[in-house]
């Protein structure tokens, strides 16, 4: 299971990486914005993406739409400070499978990941 972390904050990527390690996911790639993520998605073929919303160069919602044009099924979780209901709806409409609001606990993140991966596995 390869996971692609997309966040312009290296600190957040590091926190997410440590949380993933706790539940046994160590095959992790990273990108600092949507453009980097598109390249990483093509090269790394991740099984799950965790996407921030507000990033330079290309934001997360644009990235999600572009990924969905290429791949209808790869699981994506939006992890962002954008907490309003309308933003959550916009992200789900764009194609994310789940949504977690910053600040988050490692347990909260891991729960979302397990749920999304479980659903994706059950669907295949």
């Amino acid at each position: 299971m390869k996971i692609l972390l997309i966040d312009d904050s290296k600190t957040i990527r590091s926190i997410q990486k440590n949380a993933l390690k706790q539940i046994g996911y160590e095959d992790v790639a990273e990108a600092a914005d949507g453009l980097e993520a598109l390249a990483a998605f093509a090269n790394e073929r991740p099984d799950l993406l965790i996407v921030d919303w507000n990033m330079p160069n290309m934001d997360g919602i644009t990235l999600v739409r572009k990924i969905r044009e290429q791949d209808k099924t790869v699981p994506m979780i939006m992890c962002t400070t954008e907490a309003e209901k309308q933003r959550v709806m916009e992200a789900i409409k764009a194609g994310v499978n789940d949504y977690i609001v910053k600040p988050f606990t490692p347990d909260g993140l891991n729960e979302k990941i397990s749920r999304v991966i479980g659903k994706a596995t059950a669907a295949t």
């Binding site: 312009d8 904050s9 600190t11 590091s14 440590n18 400070t81 954008e82 309003e84 910053k102 600040p103």
Partner: protein, 167 residues
Amino acid sequence: MDIRFINPFVASIQCVFETMVHTKVRVGKPRLRTDDSLVHDISAVVGFSGDAAGCVVLSFSADVACRIASAFAGTKLAHDDPDFIDAIGELANMVAGNAKKDFEGLNVSISLPSVIAGTNHTVSHPAKTPFIVIPCDTDFGCVCVEFGIEVEKKPRPALATTKGASV
């Protein structure tokens, strides 16, 4: 003084710092900022635009900022570490984003964070926008939260400018 934004920022700073920095936040009495006498070493600024425009600034002494950034990142960060600025900026981003969800009835966007590093700098603002100061005490030391927000229909740029500081 438009006090409707005080509670969202108080709740946000407590939530973000308790969850991500693992410290309680003891909030002092909010007050209207009346001059530029507040000096800091590190400030993180996030702008608001949309139905409400302005900014929020989190300011610290250098020592406190290092302790808070280290607790947040889970590793020791000195002020000259390249990850230090990233950590402080991300904390401000979370405080701004978490607060704006409680700006009832307002559709507001936040900017990417900017971090100002410079000993004894002040953060100035246009006189027409009142700034509210919320003094906060954490287990790592004091954090000053300041915000100035005006409700308006058309978006406009963030309001903060800096004096005597390098970015």
